[in-house]
């Protein structure tokens, strides 16, 4: 990834196994950026929006969000909506990575402003490949500073 500041990947994924697999495959694509794993929505929201919920803490962060929709404590859609309606965070690229392939759900995410929607393949080979390609994508993507 290019830019004045190294981009941190905020990975919101409740399944630790999935998180580990995603991380491994992103690394295999040659992406060495910091990955911040969150296993539930609350912690991720706290990190992104800060204690006061204003997201001022994220003002000088260069971020990319990797978001699962099915979280134990809230839905990823809620996080997406909050990110995209916040003045500071709205330009942060959000990649939805989830098991859901429901057409309505996909449409809803794009309506809310998600940048990429990827369905987690059940087959691991495809899954690993998709993540690695995503990693390659990350390595060329431009993120607003």
């Amino acid at each position: 990834m290019t830019g004045s500041q190294p981009v941190s990947i905020v990975m919101i994924e409740d399944d630790e196994g999935h998180a580990r697999l995603i991380e491994k495959n992103i690394r295999r694509a040659g992406v060495s950026n910091e990955i911040l794993p969150f296993t539930n929505g609350t912690d991720a929201v706290n990190y992104l929006f800060g204690a006061d919920g204003s997201a001022k803490v994220s003002k000088n962060r260069a971020l990319l969000i990797l978001l699962d929709l099915n979280l134990p404590d809230m839905t990823g859609i809620d996080i997406l909506r909050r990110v995209k309606s916040n003045d500071i965070l709205k330009r942060v690229p959000v990649v939805i990575l989830t098991t859901t392939d429901d057409a309505q759900e996909i449409q809803r995410c794009y309506d809310l402003g998600c940048n990429v929607y990827i369905t987690k393949p059940v087959d691991y080979e495809n899954f690993a490949q998709a993540i690695r390609q995503l990693g390659l994508f990350f390595s060329v993507i431009q993120v607003p500073a």
């Binding site: 697999l21 609350t42 691991y124």
Partner: protein, 503 residues
């Protein structure tokens, strides 16, 4: 109160009306007999008056006969004799009338006999004088008159008649008094009768109005039921739609949640596969010191082996936990499905005791956390005991689990009832639930808020499924940082609203 009114209507109304009717009949009979008596009395009074007239007439007729006889004696004119004779005949007729009136009264009959004797004697004297005149012996006739016997007899007759008239006056006075009394009694009875008729009329009108009101209420109720039918149907349809949506959400959640661990199992198996290649290469490399996996090129061989071993452990660990997780999920689904098939056995349940027992099992945990559990008014219910125990122990356990840090916990369980429904409430002052999550908390495997307390996200899904099957519904009202209120509304008697099987 209801049963009393029904009993009143069923037994007392006809009884009351029958009694009123009997009183009316009684009044009628009494009035009729009094009227009859008054009639008799009036006739007796009339008899007395006519008897007095007859007595007066008797005296008058005797005097007229006497004066006819005197006229004849003085003038020897046969016309006067005719007056006398007709007077004699009339007197006999009048005496016969009086005899009939006096029949059955021995003292008066005796008096009458005396009178008749005197009258007979008088006419004998008169006849004797007439005979002497007929024979031309006027002097003799004058002598007979001069004896004053005729006058004396007349005085006696007059006295007798006067006595009789006086006697009849007394009788008349008594009879008049009796007549006045009986007329007054008749008036009183009639007045009482009128008052009773008015009273019974008012009562009857009141009863009829009551019955009419009850009928009117029933009609209104029926009409509103009819009018509500459509609303009821639309409610049921909404219920079914909601249940259908829930089934779809359930199917989606189950497929997603079961898929996730599978991705891990396959993913890490593949990782192991890769690691095996690395390991073989490593072993081969130990022999010919050929460089192996790209990531581990710079590290010494021992570290590389250790790294591979660590990754091996990690991969196996994820596979094991994923399999365990799948097992847990499948078991949870199985349990839910079994619960959905269990037959309910409704029984009368004292909710105070049931909640009290749950409180006892939680009391240790509660006192450890400094939480007070307060059991308020809890109406009894006829439902399935096990289901209710599971519902309330889940809710109370949740209330105890999700406290607000820094605030001593307070859990209140209360309830109220309507004619057919019972509503129970579990209220806490815990950390509360964000309104966005109010539906989500009832979904299987879904939780809300900070994940600082272990749990699977099964409890509330299970509770709601049970409440649904019991024919009720549940809701939550909650605000983050203020506490939560879980409300459960159930039919007072299980089966009265209709059981719904859950998916």
């Amino acid at each position: 109160m209801v049963s009393f009114t029904q009993a009143f209507e069923r037994y007392w109304q006809p009884a009351l009306l029958s009694v009123a009717f009997l009183i009316l009949v009684g009044i009628g009979v009494i009035a009729a007999s009094l009227a009859e008596q008054a009639d008799t009395n009036a006739r007796q009074v009339a008899d007395s008056i006519s008897l007095q007239k007859t007595l007066g007439n008797l005296l008058l007729t005797i005097r007229r006969a006497e004066s006819g006889q005197r006229g004849y004696v003085i003038t020897v004119d046969r016309g006067y004799l005719d007056d006398y004779r007709s007077g004699e005949t009339q007197v006999a007729q009048i005496l016969e009338q009086i005899r009939q009136a006096f029949q059955g009264h021995p003292t008066r009959e005796a008096e009458l006999a005396q009178l008749r004797d005197n009258v007979a004697a008088k006419f004998d004297e008169l006849d004797a004088v007439v005979e002497l005149v007929d024979g031309g012996r006027l002097d003799k006739a004058r002598d007979v008159v001069r004896t004053n016997r005729g006058r004396d007899l007349m005085v006696e007759i007059s006295n007798g008649v006067t006595r009789m008239m006086e006697e009849e006056d007394r009788t008349l006075a008594t009879r008049s008094q009796v007549l006045i009394n009986s007329n007054r009694n008749l008036l009183y009875i009639l007045l009482i009768g009128v008052a009773l008729i008015v009273g019974i009329g008012v009562l009857a009108v009141a009863i009829v109005q009551r019955t009419n009101r009850a009928r009117h209420r029933a009609i209104v109720e029926m009409e509103s039921t009819n009018a509500n039918l459509e609303t009821i149907i639309s409610h049921r349809t909404a219920d079914l739609t909601e249940a259908n949506e829930e089934i779809q959400r359930f199917a989606y959640i189950v497929s997603h949640d079961l898929r996730s661990p599978l991705v891990n199992v396959m993913g890490f198996t593949k990782e192991l596969d890769g690691l095996r290649d690395d390991l073989i290469n490593e072993i081969a490399g130990m022999r010919d010191t050929r460089p192996v996996a790209a990531e581990a090129q710079d590290a010494p061989a021992g570290d590389r082996i250790a790294a591979i071993s660590k990754e091996f452990d990690e991969a196996l660990g994820f596979i094991k936990t994923s399999i365990a997780k799948m097992d847990r999920l499948i078991n949870a689904i199985l349990r839910l499905s079994r619960e959905g098939r269990r037959e309910f056995t409704p029984e009368h349940i004292d909710m105070k005791t049931l909640i009290g027992n749950i409180e006892k099992t939680l009391s240790h945990q509660a006192s450890e956390k400094g939480t007070a559990i307060n059991i308020g008014n809890l109406p009894p219910i006829e439902s399935d005991r096990l289901a209710l125990e599971q519902i309330f122990s889940n809710l109370m356990d949740n209330a105890l689990k999700y406290l607000r840090p820094g605030t001593p916990g307070q859990i209140d369980i209360g309830g109220q009832e309507t004619a057919t429904l019972v509503t129970y409430e579990v209220r806490d002052n815990g950390r509360g639930i964000d309104p966005a999550d109010h539906q989500r908390i009832f979904d299987l495997f879904r939780r809300a808020g900070p994940q600082d307390v272990p749990g699977e996200g099964i409890g509330l899904a299970h509770v709601r499924a049970l409440v649904r099957r019991l024919g009720g519904y549940m809701g939550v009202s909650s605000e983050p940082g203020r506490g939560s209120i879980f409300t459960i509304t159930l039919p007072k008697r299980f089966g009265t609203r209709g059981e719904r099987k859950t998916a």
